[in-house]
Structures are given as structure tokens and as C-alpha cells.
């Protein structure tokens, strides 16, 4: 069960080269006009780079099944957190109400909001508790 297989030196350098290409690609993609594809493209390249690091630098490709399960569990649980949280935000304005149809929005009149310094001067954050 304990693995002794390791990537070879050549594989390490190939992976490094691929990571560099990925870095160039992700920076380059940002400069191309891409419209709504900005996020998917960036994430796709990031996932590809991450997969290389995980599989080769972290040896997961050569690791026992339990390690793979741990990696997938992390990804699945992160997806649960993000997906269900997003499901809330994306479905908030599905229901017809008299409220304005926005996910999040600034409160009315927020354009004139000062940065938190104003809050401190109002004396609400500047509390007698020096420990905070």
C-alpha cells in the first residue's frame, strides 16, 4: 500500500514547463476580448494547472485509492458549499414580488456612502472595548 513509485526527473520538468505554459495562457487569455468567457477560461486553465500539481508534484497519480478519495471529497464538499450558496443567490429573484429584481444590490442612497471611517466616527465601531 505504501507507494514507492515516483515521477521521474524528466516528468517533474515537463510538468513545470506545462505550468509555465499555463501561466502564459491564463495571462494571455485575460487580454483577449472574451466577454462572458473570462471566468470559465480562467478556471479551466487553473484547474488544469492544479491537476498537474496534484497528480505529479503531490504524487496523487501514484498514490493509493484512499488518497484519491480524500482529494475528491475535498472537491465535492467545496462544490456543495459553492453550488448551494449560489443556488440561493441565483434563485432569489425568481419569485415575482413587488421588490426590485436584483440578487444583491446596494441599499438605496448608498452611492453617497463613505468608507468605514465614517462608521467609526459615528461611534459604533469605536467602542469602549480596546481589546477589539
Amino acid at each position: 500500500m505504501s507507494e514507492t513509485a515516483q515521477p521521474t526527473l524528466k516528468i517533474y520538468f515537463l510538468v513545470y514547463a506545462a505550468l509555465m505554459i499555463g501561466l502564459a495562457a491564463t495571462v494571455g487569455a485575460a487580454y483577449l476580448p472574451h466577454g462572458p468567457w473570462s471566468l470559465p477560461a480562467a478556471l479551466a486553465i487553473a484547474f488544469a494547472k492544479a491537476a498537474l500539481v496534484v497528480m505529479f508534484f503531490m504524487h496523487v497519480l501514484y498514490s493509493p485509492r484512499l488518497t484519491w478519495i480524500a482529494v475528491f471529497a475535498g472537491l465535492v464538499w467545496l462544490s456543495i458549499l459553492m453550488a448551494i450558496t449560489f443556488a440561493d443567490y441565483m434563485s432569489r429573484d425568481w419569485i415575482p414580488t413587488s421588490q426590485p429584481k436584483t440578487g444583491l444590490a446596494l441599499p438605496p442612497g448608498a452611492e453617497s456612502v463613505e468608507p468605514p471611517r465614517a462608521a467609526a466616527e459615528m461611534g459604533t465601531v469605536d467602542a469602549p472595548d480596546a481589546a477589539d
Binding site: 443556488a87 481589546a131 477589539d132
Partner: protein
């Protein structure tokens, strides 16, 4: 395995004191720098007991205030600080660690035939993180406390509260790492340190529960850490993250917070269910009915617990469609819990039942957890929840599970394994009396609260409509009985350390690896690594012709 014996609390002949993990060394340093999982379990026992009584003291104070409809005992802000203190201490410093860190640490390696946990030094570090976080939070309480409620809702906690939110957040953050590292230890130990022959399906259900709990520790606690961490950063650095004036969303904090805090309640109840399985099996001298169903239910509860957090947020401004999905999933998660309850009940049926103190606690758990769980079903339905959210109905619901469930199981477990842990037997008469008193006090405290909540009394208020007073007085009276009832075990268990009869290896005649080693066990648990060839709970069937599966 030896034939099952009748319980023999008093051994037939004096037991010669062997070298065990307690008398291995007597110095303070040998305790504070121990890496023995059994000693660490006892260190946790000391810690959680202190925190339990402090959290209980806060409850005494606010239950006193609630005897009258007016605000006469404490000011508003003090009242807010009291229930916040009660929640934070009881949840983070008692309920979350109690069974896993005390009984889990002590028993998990023994039950799987191992010499220690996978990472003994990490185990000790977990305890120090727990104590540092807990003592720091206590200190913060003394110098002023926090009044946000244990839920730290933004933007009150991040922007407007004038109390020590950031410091308390730091204390909770530190303690969270204790949980995460304990979870890592449990998972790795269960996967890698089982003795030969101890397959997954021969393990006691206590282990399955703690493994499932450990999964939640590892997957959920970090999200609490970042939630509380971001609030602390927001307060400490003046950064806006949940600030609505900048377009931030306070509900986002609730998503992060409840993503942990809902699974957290299963952290609090799964180990209790594990204890329950052990108690029911031991005192009905019967295999647990549907072992694999109970095992898989533990895992199912752990997984499903991460999908239902929005049921705490039905009225927060969350999307209604989200609310519906959370509602359906919350109803579904009752199924594995229900399976367990049925299986315990079936185990009792056709068992040879005896009613020693641990069994009395187990019976209490069975009934009270069921009430708590059923009321949870009511709350999972959005239509009911919108009316009783933030009322005493909720308070009663979770206390039925946390106190009627977890604390009863904890006490049952402490009594059951007391002879193993200490080598002494407690006084059975006092044990039974206290169990009954706890049951009576508990119900008198919390049953009226269901009615109060249903009638509309809000939680976290210290003034209320005069019409609610009778029920409040009943609840406070029950609380005083409950408080006194908890003092009894504290007293007679301590008393037994010096004056209790010495316990034999297996005073209950139970089946399990922990009952094959001396009481108290030697430091390395087993003289020789056991080789397991028998199934879990191999009690002789009382009627060999009956085959349940």
C-alpha cells in the same frame, strides 16, 4: 471470546493493582506532557466538566431572570451576554468535544485493538488548543463578554456590536483547530490502525459514529473558521466584507456559518448515538439489530448534514426555492436517525434487559431524542418554521436533542465506562436516582418551552408577556432540579475514585475489546496485539432459533 457473565460490579476477590496508565507516573508534567490517548481523554474530561458548569451557571442566571416577565435581575445587555456565553460555552467547549474527545479519545484505539492514536502528539496539541481557546474565551467573557448570540450574525457582530466579538471569534477559531486535528486523528486511526481481523464491519458502532463525526470535523469546522475569521478581520481591520452599506450581504455570513453549524449539531449527536449503540447492546445482552444499517446511517447522516443548513435561514431573506429544497432535504435526513431509533428499539425487544444506570440514561436518550427529532421534522417544514422560528419552540427542540440526547448519552457513557477508565465502581443506587432526577428535571425545564414557543414567546428576550409566566416558572423550576441533579454524578463519581469498590476487567459482562483488558488499562492497552475473529456484539442469542438480520 469468554462466555458472557452477569454484571459483577463488586469483584469476588480483591484485584491486585497492576501497573496501569494512571499509576504509570504521578507527576504533573507526566500528565501535561502525556501522549497517552487515555490520559488525554481525562484531560479533556477535566476541561469539559469545568466548562459545563460555567455554561450551566449562565443558564441558572438567565432562568432566574425569566421567572418574572419584567427585566429585574439583569440589564438587557447583560442578559444578551449571558445567553451568548451559555451558547458558546455549551456548544463549542462542552457538547462538541464531550463525547468524542473524552470517550472517543479514550476508547477508539482500544476498541480497534491499537496501542494509541495515529498521532499521539497531535492529540495532545488538540487538547492544548482546546484549553487555550476555551480559557481565552472565558477571559474575554470576564472582561466584558459578547452579546451577539452564539450565532454571531452580521452586520450586528461585524459592525454595530460594542462587545468583544473579535476576541471571542479568535477563541472559537483556535478551538476549531482542536476539532479539526482530532478529526484527522480519528480518521487516520480508524483507517490504518485496526488490529488484524478487525474489519470495518466488525468494529463497534461507537467507532462508526466517531468516524462519521470526524468527517464532519474535517469538512465543516474550517468553514466556521473562515466565517468567524472574516468577521474578525472585518472588525479588526475595518475591512468591509459583510457590510450592507458597501453592497455586502449579511446572509452570506449565515451561509458560511450554518454550513458548519448545522453539521455541528450532528457532531454533537453522532457520538451520542455511538454511545447509545454500545449501551443498548451491553444492557440488553443482544447484538444491535441491523448493524450495517446503523453503520451506514451514521455515514448518511454525516453526508446529508451538509446539505440542509438553509433550514436555519428560512426567514432570513434566503431564496424561497432554496428554502424548499432545504426543507425537503431536512425531512430526508430524519430517515437515517429514525432507522437507528427503530434498530435500538428492536435490539431491546428480545434482549435480556437490565436497568443499571447507563441503561437508564440510554432509555432516556431513546425517548427524548425521539421527541427532539420529531419536533425537528415540524421545523423542517417551512410552513411551521416561519411561525416558530426564533421562538422557544426552537430552543426546546434543540435542547431535547442536545441535553435530552447528547448529555444523557454522555452521562450514560461516563457511567458505563467509568469502571474501565478509573478501575472503580460508582454507587449504583445514587446513579439510578440521579438518572431519574435528570430525566424529571430535564422534562420540566424544556417541555413547557415547546408550548411557550408555540404560543409565540420569542427566544433571547428577557421580558415577556405576563401570560407566559406560569410556563416560565415551571421551566425555571425544572432547571433548578436539573442543575442539582447534575451535581449528584459529579459528587458520587469523584467519591468513587477513593471509596468505590475496585472494578474487574468486565464488570458488566459486555462484549468488546475494551472489556478484555484490565480496569484501568495499562499504558499500551494490550499486552499482545489482539487478533479478532469474532463479529461485533457477539452476545449469545437468547433464542437461538430467532434469526434477525
Amino acid at each position: 471470546m469468554s462466555a458472557v457473565l452477569e454484571p459483577q460490579p463488586v469483584p469476588a476477590e480483591p484485584v491486585r493493582r497492576q501497573r496501569d496508565y494512571i499509576n504509570a507516573a504521578y507527576t504533573v508534567k507526566s500528565w501535561l506532557l502525556t501522549v497517552d490517548h487515555k490520559r488525554i481523554g481525562l484531560l479533556y474530561l477535566a476541561g469539559v466538566t469545568v466548562f459545563f458548569f460555567i455554561g450551566g451557571a449562565a443558564a441558572v442566571l438567565f432562568r432566574l431572570e425569566l421567572m418574572t416577565p419584567q427585566a429585574d435581575l439583569v440589564e438587557s445587555e447583560t442578559y444578551n451576554k449571558l445567553f451568548t456565553l451559555h451558547g458558546i460555552i455549551m456548544i463549542f467547549f462542552f457538547l462538541v468535544p464531550a463525547i468524542p474527545a473524552v470517550l472517543g479519545n479514550f476508547l477508539l484505539p482500544i476498541m480497534i485493538g491499537a496501542r494509541d492514536m495515529a498521532f499521539p502528539k497531535l492529540n495532545l496539541m488538540s487538547w492544548y488548543l482546546f484549553m487555550i481557546g476555551g480559557l481565552f474565551t472565558l477571559y474575554v467573557t470576564i472582561v466584558g463578554g459578547v452579546d451577539t448570540g452564539w450565532t454571531f450574525y452580521t452586520p450586528y457582530s461585524s459592525t454595530y456590536s460594542n462587545t468583544y466579538v473579535m476576541a471571542t471569534g479568535v477563541g472559537v477559531f483556535i478551538t476549531g483547530f482542536s476539532s479539526i486535528l482530532t478529526g484527522v486523528n480519528f480518521i487516520v486511526t480508524t483507517h490504518k490502525m485496526r488490529c488484524p481481523g478487525m474489519t470495518w464491519f466488525r468494529m463497534p458502532l461507537f467507532i462508526w459514529s466517531h468516524y462519521a463525526t470526524a468527517l464532519i470535523f474535517v469538512l465543516g469546522t474550517p468553514v466556521l473558521a473562515i466565517a468567524v475569521g472574516l468577521v474578525a478581520i472585518e472588525r479588526g481591520f475595518g475591512i468591509g466584507i459583510f457590510d450592507p452599506r458597501l453592497g455586502g450581504d449579511p446572509i452570506l455570513f449565515q451561509h458560511l456559518f450554518w454550513f458548519y453549524s448545522h453539521p455541528a449539531v450532528y457532531i454533537m449527536v453522532l457520538p451520542a448515538m455511538g454511545v447509545q449503540s454500545e449501551l443498548i447492546a451491553a444492557f440488553s445482552k443482544n447484538r444491535i439489530f441491523g448493524y450495517s444499517f446503523v453503520a451506514f446511517s451514521s455515514l448518511a447522516i454525516a453526508v446529508l448534514s451538509f446539505l440542509v443548513w438553509g433550514h436555519h435561514m428560512f426567514v432570513s431573506g434566503q431564496s424561497i426555492y432554496g428554502g424548499l429544497i432545504f426543507s425537503i432535504l431536512s425531512l430526508l435526513i430524519a430517515i437515517p436517525s429514525g432507522i437507528k431509533v427503530f434498530n435500538w428499539a428492536f435490539t431491546l425487544h428480545r434482549g435480556t434487559n437490565s436497568f443499571y444506570t447507563p441503561m437508564l440514561y440510554a432509555m432516556g436518550f431513546l425517548g427524548l431524542f425521539t421527541v427532539g427529532g420529531l419536533t425537528g421534522l415540524f421545523l423542517a417544514a417551512v410552513g411551521i418554521d416561519v411561525h416558530v422560528h426564533d421562538t422557544y419552540f426552537i430552543v426546546a427542540h434543540f435542547h431535547y436533542i442536545m441535553v435530552g440526547g447528547t448529555v444523557m448519552a454522555y452521562l450514560g457513557g461516563i457511567h458505563y465506562w467509568w469502571p474501565k477508565i478509573t478501575g472503580r465502581m460508582y454507587h449504583e443506587g445514587w446513579g439510578r436516582f440521579s438518572a431519574v432526577l435528570v430525566f424529571v428535571g430535564f422534562n420540566l425545564t424544556f417541555l413547557p418551552q415547546f408550548i411557550l414557543g408555540y404560543l409565540g414567546m420569542p427566544r433571547r428576550y428577557h421580558v415577556y408577556d405576563a401570560g407566559f409566566q406560569v410556563l416560565n416558572v415551571m421551566s425555571s423550576a425544572g432547571a433548578s432540579i436539573l442543575g442539582i441533579a447534575y451535581l449528584f454524578p459529579f459528587t458520587y463519581l469523584l467519591w468513587s475514585l477513593k471509596y468505590g469498590p475496585k472494578a474487574s476487567e468486565n464488570p458488566w459482562g459486555a462484549v468488546g475489546l475494551e472489556w478484555t483488558i484490565p480496569s484501568p488499562p495499562p499504558t499500551h492497552n494490550f499486552a499482545r496485539t489482539p487478533v479478532v475473529t469474532w463479529e461485533a456484539y457477539e452476545y449469545p442469542r437468547s433464542n437461538p432459533d430467532e434469526v434477525f438480520e
